[in-house]
Amino acid sequence: MSDTHAASVPYVRESMLPQVEPPATAKGPVKWVHQSLFSSIPYTILTLVALYVIFVILSGFLPWLLGGVWNTGNIRECREVLDGAQGGCFSVLTDRWNQLLFGIAYPQDGYWRPTMAFILLFVAAAPVLFGSVPRQLLIVTVLYPFLAFWLIWGGSILVPLAALLSFAIGYVVYSRLVKSSFAGGLFGGIAVGVVVWFVAGLMTSNLTDVLALEEVASRNMGGFMLNMILGVICVSLSLPLGIVLALGRQSNLPIIRLICVVFIEFIRGVPLITLLFVANVVLAYFLPPGTNFDLILRVIIMITMFASAYIAEVIRGGLAALPRGQYEAADSLGLDYAQAMRLIILPQALKISIPGIVNVAVGLFKDTTLVSIISMFDLVGMIRGPILASTDWNGVYWELWGFAALLFFVVCYGISQYSQWLERQLQTDHH
């Protein structure tokens, strides 16, 4: 037996070899570098070229960033301090910091108010955006619009309280009537709410100094605060409006369908700039002289209309993507239209539409800078107008525009990251 085996013994190992680390070239960073960067001659050349480009950019950018001047009073002092050396004149950011964030005319001792509203925005948005947040926080979300209005615009707290009261009573009426008829509940609630608001407005109009903050006119809003105000309000208003328009466009009632189609097609066919000019310039001719129809309100209406038309089309795409069977299933369960939409169709359609909606929201947020064209001092308007036109800072471009780009990038990137997280959360087709 052993003989037969003897011939092959030199070739048979009888004990296990101990485990050995892979060779240095086949593991870890070395392997990664070799495989990803230098695996062939063309790759090697591309890698070297890319490294060179990065080096050139950084060797210009880093000295500019790190060698910058942060505490001079104007561009001439800046140049004196730099004395020919490379470096940015970031003093403009520190000197005009409050103007970049809050505009030129917001009361300086009231900067805590928009800051507070900004912080509370996260508390209010959290329960809507994240399912894991305790539901009790939703009460903050409901109160937030009224609180933020009071903080930012000031005045007596009774004004937003009156609005809140009318909403609450309107909602109670709605929830009573909705059991018998959805439309009856909706219109009844709105009608009662408007009446309550009107009456409460009359009653509170004399009590202007109850818990009053210093009142700030809309004209005095500016800086990045204005972009945030416009962005947040318009996105949150245009989403429900867009859903209504999308449903209306698919409605069986010809009048409603016609109105929605005309509205969407008209608004989508007109540039936003045109709408803003209408809000600012043309409306002034049709309103009686001396009418003070708030400019920000006009702009909010125009931007909301614009965004809701786009969101309506995005959601219509979501509705169209649902298989016909979903609608039929809802019908066969005996649900009425409102129930079917609320419980079956919209949850699925909205999920499909998330990337599109986020796309519109990000675009809308950046579009708020267009208000600088109608001489409102948002962040871009502040830079283009007052700051670059001051004798102190005329000629500082990169630092200011870089800062504006950074602020917008942070917000837009945040929105986009959230939407990707949300898509993963809502994924139901487990593979």
Binding site: Q99, R219, V282, A389, T391, D392, N394, G395
Partner: protein, 338 residues
């Protein structure tokens, strides 16, 4: 042209709507504030400082009018306007008074139904060249590349000038002044042309302003002045004579420093009338007797305003030139206060 006809028609509509309203002065007094249209920002002429207070050459005129009416130069609501929104803002009544370095032209005065109340700055189109180019006159610019803002009157003026002098040039079209600065500094053009005050302001922002010169030739007339709506002549008179009061004050030697003293013990009868010590000029305008005194005390006379905002001591460094008093060979000439 079509645009101006359109705006003109809109203006008429606005005017007929506004005609029923009370006089502008009554409106302003009832409001307690002057609504003054200014630019969203032009170096030296109007811009808010780090504290958000508006400052500048045009702003001073607004403040002087407010001081004449309310004895308070801060009773002004500054309403920033762009080149596109300024005329509609005035025509629709959103602002009472537009002081936004606006060139006085025939069609704006006649077709758009505005009244220019005077000229507070005589501007004109000029050329800036690098010193190294060795050019001392615009007529030496044969074959030069010229940075020029498209769609402006400066573009037309430029073509006229070069054709009249029978020399050639190559235009480099740019969109904004900021772009012009960058292109010029990058050497994309030999010379940059726009209004002379704008050239001076632009040059003041360069790292080495001394390397660039502004050529002596001024090739167009750009009289910049404040304006009001057609139709309320009392309001036009008031603003016009506030501007003249500032100009006359310089001629008569009244300054913000000595105005109080001059008002009480001057021997010059015209100064006495101007400052309200004699006569009823203020009453004729519907103001109190100290209207001009308040305007001058708060803002200084025309020369002081010029020196403080755009004069040779400022970074902008404009010489008086055409804007000197007529007694010094300039065009500033106020009619008599009598």
């Amino acid at each position: 042209m079509n645009k101006s006809v359109f705006f003109g028609a809109l203006t008429v509509a606005g005017l007929t709507a506004g005609a029923a309203a009370a006089s502008t002065l009554d409106d302003v007094k009832a409001r307690g504030k002057l609504n003054c249209g200014v630019t969203t920002g032009l170096v030296g002429f109007a811009a808010p400082n780090a504290n958000g207070e508006w400052e500048g050459f045009d702003v001073a005129v607004c403040r002087a009018v407010a001081a004449a009416i309310f004895a308070d130069p801060n009773a002004v609501e500054f309403i920033p306007t762009t080149g596109k929104t300024r005329f509609t803002a005035l025509a629709s009544g959103e602002i009472d008074f537009l002081a936004r370095n606006t060139t006085w032209t025939f069609s704006r005065d006649v077709d758009l139904k505005f009244d220019f109340i005077g000229v507070n700055y005589y501007d004109g189109q000029g050329f800036m060249v690098p010193k190294a180019l060795g050019v001392s006159s615009a007529k030496d610019l044969d074959g030069a590349t010229v940075c020029i803002q498209t769609g402006t009157t400066t573009e037309l003026n430029l073509a006229d000038f070069f054709r009249a002098n029978n020399i050639s040039y190559e235009p480099v079209p740019i969109e904004t002044n900021a772009e012009g600065q960058q292109q010029y500094l990058a050497g994309a053009c030999d010379t940059y042309t726009t209004d002379a005050s704008g050239l001076a302001a632009t040059r003041a922002t360069f790292e080495t302003p001394g390397d660039h010169i502004i050529l002596p030739e001024i090739i167009s007339k750009e009289p910049l002045g404040p304006l009001v709506r057609h139709g309320d002549n009392d309001w036009g008179d008031l603003t016009r004579w506030v501007l003249y009061a500032l100009i006359a004050a310089e001629e008569l030697g009244v300054t913000s420093a000595n105005v109080e003293e001059m008002a009480t013990n001057t021997t010059n009868p015209e100064v006495a009338r101007l400052l309200g010590a004699e006569g009823t000029l203020g009453e004729m305008l519907g103001l109190d007797a100290g209207w001009a005194k308040n305007a001058i005390a708060s803002q200084g006379n025309y020369g002081e305003i010029f020196a403080k905002n755009i004069g040779e001591e400022t970074p902008i460094g404009l010489a008086r030139g055409l804007n000197a008093q007529w007694t010094d060979g300039g065009l500033m000439y106020a009619p008599p206060f009598r």
